[in-house]
């Protein structure tokens, strides 16, 4: 993977510090405490690692910006102190596009793709993307065959590109048993990748297997859910459902017949008696009306006759009074003259003539009493007749009223019957019809539901069959994968090459006691290199071997075109070896390193930090670009990383 660091810009509180990098070798040297290692740490920080905060950084550091070439892109990584995201800006050198995203370092909830239509969500994904590689897939669990594939992280590769001084000899690239389990396993994945054990065919088979496995699981679970659903709803086999549908059709027919029957019944049974009753009620109503009119007429007549009777009574009374009054007054003779009011002196009692007018009495009654008697008799007979007629009329009226009452009662009975007949027929019909309609509806709904269910039972079968078919595929894939994996691991050309490169490196560096005839062993289980003397089984303590092993890996990666990032940062390769005592090794290592940088690994960018500077031979320095920087904590000629910082 083409990765060249070009420049690191460090923004401190009082100064912005630019650190340029050479294409081939950049060499920082000087006494401890000048901030040499910090430079490498800051590069690592920009690439997404955590920052080991020194007191100087703690106090002064604000942000870091790393300019690099990655793949075909000119990339700037910008990260603030303490930030968990990196601002990435890149120029596609071919397309001349400037793009800018903020890339999170750790997984987020609801991640959004950083580049549209990709699954790039983290900085590590973006770095692979910009480097022009798909992140290699590795198995999540190393123990189980049935496991998910996960993406290898850029950070995992960084272990092979940054040899930290604190771990330079105590750790073998996180491969050893003491290392953190997760790191060890990931580190082994990287080794597999480099050694080609992680072959394309294996990866393909693995992802294929995963797909098949997922599909199978989905099918099984769907089938199971469906089955459980059918069981829970007591829906049996297809045949049962079909039988039930048949039954429903029969029931449906029967209900329809019933509805027709009651429709007929209601027409036949109800119309005749209701009509008859209605006719009867109508005639009674007419009769009632007539009777009412007659009664009214009679009552008017009775009232008239009663008034007449009153007149007769009054007349009779008057006649009687008149008679009495006349007789009474007749006996009272005038004492004075009604004309002149003088006393009548010469009154001669005489029965033959009136004492006032002297007219002689004849035989006729003067007071016409006979006339009055005639009237009285006449009145009496008329009175009796009238009374009789009133009595008769009363009788007639009472009879009519009785009849009226009777007819009213009968009509009421008829009305009630009619009402009852209508309502009962209606309600019976309605109740029946409603219940039938409801049954019809229920049957229809059930049938519909059953029809919908019918394919479900088949579907369970189909799903299971599909899943079963996949089982075969899965087994085949498993077998193929196993074979491919075995084949890949058997193909240990790369491993042998790594062994020989490692041994060559050790010999070239001139590590004491290592011979060309020694045997290097690298187990494919843990990938930890061991050196055996041909004669005995003693295992050498491999001080300093990590640098040689890393170089060997990079040499192999170069040969095999493994996408390792194209740079190697080595922090104090001689940490535990005094350069005074082991000057040979010191010289041997750098001579070898320069030789590689000038030739075999001329595409690899070396960034070296050490206490002392081993001069680069003129022959080589002409061929490669070199930046060397002397840094001391206190010498103003060779200022530390943060020049103004004088300790705390």
């Amino acid at each position: 993977m083409n990765l060249k660091i070009e420049n690191l810009t460090l923004t401190c509180r009082k100064e912005i510090i630019e650190i340029p990098f050479a294409k081939n070798i950049t060499y920082f040297y000087g006494k401890m405490g000048a901030g040499k290692s910090t430079i490498l740490q800051l590069i690592d920080y920009c690439l997404g690692n955590e920052l080991v905060v020194t007191p100087a950084l703690q106090q002064e550091f604000i942000n870091a910006e790393l300019e690099l070439v990655l793949g075909n892109n000119q990339v700037t990584l910008f990260r603030e102190k303490g930030s968990n995201q990196v601002q990435v800006e890149w120029v596609d050198l071919q397309k001349q596009e400037v793009l800018n995203v903020i890339a999170p370092i750790n997984k987020q909830e609801n991640p959004q793709p950083l580049v549209p239509n990709t699954n790039i969500i983290l900085l590590t994904d973006l770095l692979f993307y910009l480097g022009g590689f798909q992140p290699p897939l590795v198995r999540k669990s190393k123990k189980s065959e049935n496991t998910d594939l996960i993406r290898l992280s850029f950070r995992d590769l960084m272990w092979y590109c940054y040899l930290n001084q604190d771990e330079i000899d105590s750790s073998m690239l996180h491969l050893e048993k003491e290392a953190n389990n997760f790191k060890r396993l990931k580190s082994r994945d990287v080794m597999r990748l480099i050694l080609g054990f992680h072959q394309e065919s294996v990866a393909l088979l693995e992802s294929e297997l995963l797909e098949v496995r997922n599909e199978k699981a989905t099918l099984y679970s769907t089938a199971k859910q469906l089955h459980v659903f059918l069981e829970e709803n007591q829906i049996g086999e297809t045949s049962t459902i079909l039988k039930r549908i048949e039954d429903i059709d029969e029931d449906n027919q029967q209900v329809k017949i019933n509805i027709n029957n009651i429709n007929k019944e209601i027409k036949q049974e109800n119309s005749h008696p209701v009509d008859k009753l209605r006719e009867e009620a109508r005639s009674y109503a007419i009769l009632l009306d007539e009777l009412n009119t007659s009664v009214y007429d009679i009552e008017v007549q009775i009232a008239q006759r009663k008034r007449l009777l009153g007149e007769f009574a009054s007349a009779k009374m008057k006649v009687n009074r008149s008679l009495i009054a006349r007789n009474t007054l007749k006996d009272l003779e005038f004492l004075t003259c009604p004309q002149c009011e003088r006393e009548l002196i010469n009154r001669v009692p005489n029965n033959k003539q009136c004492s006032l007018c002297k007219v002689p009495f004849d035989d006729k009654n003067y007071f016409e009493s006979n006339n009055i008697e005639v009237i009285k008799t006449d009145l009496t007979s008329r009175y009796i007749e009238l009374q009789d007629s009133i009595t008769r009329l009363n009788r007639q009226r009472d009879a009519m009223l009785k009849e009226l009452r009777r007819i009213k009662e009968e009509k009421q009975v008829i009305d009630e019957d009619l009402l009852e007949l209508q309502t009962t027929y209606d309600s019976i019909y309605l109740a029946k019809a409603k219940s039938y309609e409801r049954t019809l509806g229920e049957l229809k709904a059930e049938k519909l539901a059953l029809h919908k269910l019918l394919p479900l039972t088949n579907q369970v079968k189909e799903l299971q069959e599909k899943a079963d078919n996949l089982l075969v595929d899965e087994a085949r894939l498993k077998r193929e994968l196993k074979e491919a994996r075995e084949k890949a691991e058997k193909d240990n050309t790369n491993l042998e090459e790594l062994k020989s490169l490692f041994l060559e490196n050790l010999v070239e560096v001139g590590l004491p006691g290592v011979n060309q005839s020694d045997i290097v062993s690298i187990s494919t289980n843990d990938f930890i290199p061991k050196i055996y003397r041909a004669k005995d089984d003693d295992v050498y303590e491999m001080q300093f071997s990590k640098c040689c092993f890393a170089l060997a890996i990079h040499r192999l990666a170069k040969q095999r075109k493994v996408p390792l990032p194209g740079f190697l940062m080595i922090d104090t390769p001689m940490k535990n070896i005094s350069e005074r005592e082991n000057e040979d090794i010191f010289r041997g290592f750098y001579t070898f390193l320069y030789k590689l940088a000038a030739n075999e690994l001329k595409d690899l960018q070396f960034i070296v930090v050490d206490k002392e500077y081993y001069p680069i031979p003129e022959k080589i320095s002409k061929k490669v670009s070199i930046i060397k920087k002397h840094m001391t904590p206190d010498d103003p000629m060779h200022p530390p990383l943060i020049p103004y910082y004088k300790g705390h």
């Binding site: 009153g310 009054s314 009374m317 009054a325 009474t328 004492l335």
Partner: protein, 187 residues
Amino acid sequence: MDQSLLERIIRLDENDEINIIRILILIDKMAGRNQKQTIDGINKLVKLDFLLRYPVALERALMKLKKDKDIPKIDIQVYERESVETNLMHFNYGPWDSRYRRFLTILEAKGLIAYIISGKTVNVSITQTGHKTVEDISSFSEFQDYVIRSGLIKRHFGPYSSKKLMNFFYEVFPEMVTMKQGEEIKI
């Protein structure tokens, strides 16, 4: 009722005798037990006689006075409420009836009542003979109601002056004020 009978009865009504006897009974009752009291003026007599002649009017007058206890004593007969005569009451009401003077002259000429002139007013009183005659006639059941009703009139309207009676009448029978002559009224 045929025309001739009706006519004959109306004529009967116009006979003086009944009117004379009725007025005599009223004058007698108004005189009180000692027969010394008089009726002050013929106008008052005519108004009191109106109440006696039409028991329906008396009933209404007593109702106005809220004399509920005495109302049943009037004992109005059915024919008295509904007869033609009752409906003709208005024709026969009031001091316009010229016959009163004749009735009183006859009563006086036969020595049944007596006049006492007091200033411009004629006071009417009963005589011994008149009282005897009323006692005799009272034994006839036909005249019982006149006797009883006259007592009621004496009790409730005796102290009324003629003018007060007039105002009272217009209050009790407001239709009399607005009524046109000849219109039939119903009480």
